[in-house]
Symmetry: C2
Subunit: 190 residues, 2 copies
DNA sequence: TTCTAAAATAAATGATCATTCATTAAATGT
DNA sequence: ACATTTAATGAATGATCATTTATTTTAGAA
């Protein structure tokens, strides 16, 4: 029995992300991904059922990573605002540190491929955030609106701000992140 | 001299948008677009230099349309808040009315193709919005932050809220839009 | 050391890709 | 009515596509 090479698996994922980011989904062929990863095109089919499986699996794995990063050091004793501030800061740092992964996920999420990912997967990764918003509503600290709407105002901005293509100037100075969080908080607080 | 058929041009654009939305950029081939539009693949090259030109031109045209729609009925005498509220409502209505076009533009904007579009094109279409934010800063009504950051908090949410894939429940009830605008305004106001 | 099972691959498959070219169809100006 | 110009196209191009198959390599079990 021979085992799958985890370095090879990582090389395939890295190559997929790199090629999709640099040339787009349309031009990211199996042959090019394999060449970039330094393996045979056929090897890809040892690790993934087909190309769609490769792309969807890569996306889900990236989202899982970000889910873990954002909910890191979760402290249930903190006040609502501080909990959200930690999520926000974690998200900002995670996106900054893994810009390539984030760019891939943003591109993928707008694609029809995204419909193939079951919604409960995302709910699982980002559950603590939604729970915190619900708790804030119960405590009459946050406006009583649907969670999806609050999420949009709370977390959509950080995804844009951490993207240097959109906001090149943001995040260089200390205090930038906390200031931006205040804007998001002002939007949803009662 | 024979003229180009504007109905044929529209059919090509509509087919491009439809196919990209339904199957993604990766699967939207020239042959399929031509078949959907009811023309020969070669006809496409009468209207566009190549496939890239077709996609980029379609995107720029869509952005132009939205730019016009958002800045419609611009009244320079209105207070800052009312100006922004009108932009916001215009944007919401435009996206709702042309969901297919919006979906295409969102997908395109995340693609490496987007780098081919000169930034001054977008600045031209959405100039009045940026001007209004700058005026708000000068009048000490809006927080003194870079325009890109204020834009993110003011207009990113409406793009998400108007997307039924993300917020299915939003916008059905009268007052939803004005309420949501209040959240965005609370974020950036002083 | 030998056997074995799965990893890894080179090569080949038929389909589909973007684009071009030679030709035809149609609308305009005279 | 005719000549001219360009829109429109069918067919063909070679390249590249995703995937499969037959074969070789390799790591762990016996």
């Amino acid at each position: 029995m021979r085992h799958k090479d985890e370095h090879k698996q990582k090389a395939i994922i890295d190559a997929t992300v790199k090629l999709v980011n640099e040339t787009g989904f349309a031009a990211a062929s199996v042959a090019k991904i394999a060449r970039e990863a330094g393996v045979s095109p056929a090897t890809l089919y040892v690790y993934y059922k087909n190309k769609e499986d490769l792309l969807v699996s890569t996306y889900v794995e990236i989202k899982r990573k970000f889910g873990v990063a954002v909910t890191r050091e979760y402290d249930p004793t903190l006040p609502i605002r501080d909990k959200l501030a930690r999520f926000w800061r974690n998200a900002f740092v995670a996106i900054q540190e893994e810009q390539a992964l984030f760019q891939f996920s943003e591109q993928f999420a707008r694609t029809p491929y995204a419909d193939l990912v079951p919604p409960e997967v995302m709910e699982e990764y980002f559950g603590p955030i939604f729970d915190t918003l619900r708790e804030g509503i119960r405590q009459k600290i946050i406006k009583d609106l649907p969670i999806e709407i609050l999420s949009v105002f709370m977390f959509q901005p950080v995804m844009q701000l951490a993207n240097p293509k959109i906001c090149a100037a943001f995040g260089k100075e200390p205090g930038d992140v906390d200031l931006a969080f205040t804007l998001a908080w002002d939007a949803i607080k009662l």
